[in-house]
């Protein structure tokens, strides 16, 4: 048997060399792409969940005008990019998809979405902030569909409209009179940067610095500048004095704060338009308003989130897909979509349209958007969330002083950016 093993080794060696020699780049194999000529064109569109109704009519019109078949599938908009990573190369991906604008930077880095060739006139119909959210290094990668920002929800049974404090300081005083460990006045998830940024940047903090073109500089982090620290100190006051209970801190905080509001145990909370429907269903008699003013007389600068329509890099009909994106985001279709889905459109002229101003929610979003800052869309933003939230959490629980915590957070963010994004 020993002898046999020797032979076997020899022979398999020969066989392996033979097969390896055959390996090589297969340029020709894939080069001759046979074009499927004149097949009826088809577009696959991924729309946000429960929002498909809003673009049905527009799709029908587009089909008629361009002689194509458009298929629409509903998918949660924050997950679409994840699905595109696999579905795209497999050939089952969409031509048009929708996503939050802060994912655009990542998607562009990975090459998942296509640059759009949109003229200035088309770009001009949207609010500037919404359009900026679609750009990476000055190039346009999508058209805005809807804007979202946080606002103040207040319970009309607990406070009347004309009593509403207009400043955060006013809410602080109000809360002091109401908060007793069971009931609370004003509540917000200020242990999360998504919400706390409205205070921090109101005082002069920022996440990433911007150059004149609006491009973000990931080495310039303003989360521990004097303004941010002042803001954080202000935030800490609410927790220290028991106006914000420790029970709303942390991962489960969002559930607690929402149930406190629906149970009528909190007079006002900061939340987003996504809660309008749940609160209405829960039977809360609530109103919405733009966020209160800060102690320095400035407005709270909440994050704006922009939802957009984008064209997949894997699209087989990119021109048509682009045309569809432009069509579906035009003024007329944006208006129709708003009427059905109630998502506030990013078209500038619609902000003063009676359809929008009549709705208090849309009005609040539109008003707050004026003072809001864009969520940075560069991939480095991924490294900001966790450390910033950690810092704010330790500030909220009183475990750290604002300055130390924020310095530490910035150091961690810089380290992570260096480690994960340094070696391009």
């Amino acid at each position: 048997m020993k002898k046999f093993k020797k032979y076997f080794c020899l022979m398999s060696g020969v066989a392996l060399t033979l097969s390896l020699a055959a390996c090589g780049p297969q340029d020709d194999a894939k080069g001759g792409d046979t074009k499927e000529a004149d097949k009826p064109k088809e577009l696959l569109v991924w729309e946000d969940i429960m929002k498909g109704e809003g673009i049905k009519d527009a799709i029908a019109k587009f089909e008629k005008e361009n002689d194509v078949k458009v298929k629409m599938v509903e998918k949660q908009y924050t997950k679409q990019i994840e699905d595109l990573r696999l579905d795209g190369p497999a050939g089952t991906g969409p031509d048009v998809l929708t996503m939050p604008s802060d994912q655009i930077g990542t998607a562009v880095t990975e090459g998942l979405i296509k640059e759009l060739d949109v003229d200035d006139a088309t770009q001009g119909i949207y609010t500037e902030a919404a359009m900026d959210a679609q750009k990476v290094e000055g190039k346009v990668y999508g058209l805005p569909k809807a804007v979202e920002t946080t606002m103040l929800f207040y319970n009309k049974d607990l406070i009347s409209e004309d009593q509403l404090p207009t400043t955060l300081e006013g809410w602080y005083d109000y809360s002091k009179g109401v908060a007793n460990g069971e009931k609370f006045g004003f509540l917000a998830l200020f242990d999360q940067i998504y919400y706390a940024n409205s205070v921090l940047s109101g005082y002069g903090g920022y996440i990433f610095g911007q150059d004149d073109n609006g491009s973000y500089d990931p080495t310039d982090i303003g989360l521990n500048n004097a303004g941010a620290i002042e803001g954080a100190q202000y935030i800490q006051k609410f927790y220290k004095e028991g106006l914000f209970p420790a029970g709303i801190v942390g991962e489960q905080g969002i559930n607690v704060i929402e149930s406190l509001f629906t149970e009528g145990k909190a007079t006002a909370i900061i939340s987003g338009p996504w809660n309008i429907e749940p609160f209405t269903k829960a039977g809360v008699n609530f109103g919405v308003q733009k966020l209160p003013e800060l102690g320095n007389g400035k407005n709270m600068q909440a994050f704006i989130g922009v939802k957009s329509y984008n064209v997949s890099s894997y699209s087989k009909n990119p021109e048509l897909a682009e045309k569809f994106v432009e069509f579906i985001s035009n003024e007329e279709n944006s208006k129709t979509r708003y009427e059905i889905t109630k998502e506030v459109p990013a078209v500038a002229s619609l902000a003063n349209d009676p359809v929008v101003t009549e709705s208090p929610a849309a009005k609040a979003v539109a008003e707050q958007s004026k003072f809001s800052v864009l969520m940075p869309n560069i991939p480095q933003m991924n490294e900001v969330w966790a450390p910033a939230d950690s810092a704010l959490q330790t500030i909220a629980t009183g475990k750290a002083q604002p300055k130390e915590a924020l310095d530490q957070a910035v150091e961690t963010i810089k380290g992570q950016i260096e480690a994960k994004h340094g070696k391009k």
Binding site: M11, E383, Q408, T412, A419
Partner: protein, 418 residues
Amino acid sequence: MQHRTIAPLLSIIPGLGQFYNKQWVKGLVFLILGASFVVAFGDLLNMGFWGLFTLGTEVPRDNSIFLLAEGIIALIVSAFGLGIYYWNLKDAYKNGKLRDENFPVTSLKSEYQNLIGQGYPYLISGPSLFLLIFAVIFPILFSFALAFTNYDLYHSPPANLADWVGLETFAEIFTVDIWRSTFFDVLAWTVIWTLVASSLQVSLGVFLAIVVNQKEVRFKKFFRTILVLPWAVPGFVTILIFAGLFNDSFGAINNDILAFFGMNPIPWMTDEKWARVALILMQGWLGFPYIFIVTTGVLQSIPEDLYEAATIDGASIFAKFKNITMPMILIAMAPIVITQFTFNFNNFNIIYLFNGGGPAVAGSTAGGTDILVSWIYKLTMQSSQYSLAAALTILLSIFVIGIALWQFRRTNSFKEGA
């Protein structure tokens, strides 16, 4: 030249050696197998091996990750091919040798009987083995391979290619400050968590089983039903409910239970140490019913006469427990206990659902209760650090496999038949 040399040499082209040995049918089968292998898998092997070595050369044509997957499939397919090839050569050699020694070559009939007789277990388990290779071995190889690439956000298809970087990712875990400090913090807590939580649930389960199984205890069925209840409710529901109960300012544990005893509220969710205590207590509650059931079964199978004999010899209750009950339980339970340890080592659900790995720890990329798996999850989902996550997964598996092997070897349960 001897037949035993010529036949395998000819069999370099499958089947020819068998023809030389005048085994026509077998030779034909090998020849067809060989030819169809080349025809069917030629392209796959070619593309696969090329992709595996280069991970693509041109964007956007090449997708490194798909090429890697294809390459691994090619690897598996060639392993199958080489297996059959080896069989072909061995067969040619064996029959050549028989001819050299002037024995008749094996007939087709005897070969068939041999296959049915001795190879029966292999024949039956063949299909499942085949499935196993694609359902288990393939993903393991794939994630294993990922750890040696630089696959992350900046090396993702379709815009960029990934590349082989060898052990660089592993080196980074130990050289880059944030990774190293976080890794060791998380590892330390993972080990403590595994040991304490598993020991708690096992000892609680065994203890309760022994108590309920005492002869003097009445309403045994009632107690058993009650004690199995935590197991009957789906784990994730229990965890979410507990997360509410443990809430610092609104949870029932602080407001009702501790307040009733006049104790100050405890920061379960916002203090790292208390969050860990809460997790361990919860896992004890979630995990003990299973141990309880198994131990109850074991206890009932211990022959009564052992105890009778011990009583006659004047053994105390404690001596009986130490010398009869405990050894019997341990022998039967050892493998189950080990699985409890490995399960808790990777117990993602409880960590993630309770507090998302929180509370936050300043200066760390993981939360205070994050164990290795939940940290890996965060790395992949939040910042697309695929290769780093794969490397950590390998380290984690080495740890788990090492402990499990060591434990299995020390227990008596697996000695038989090994």
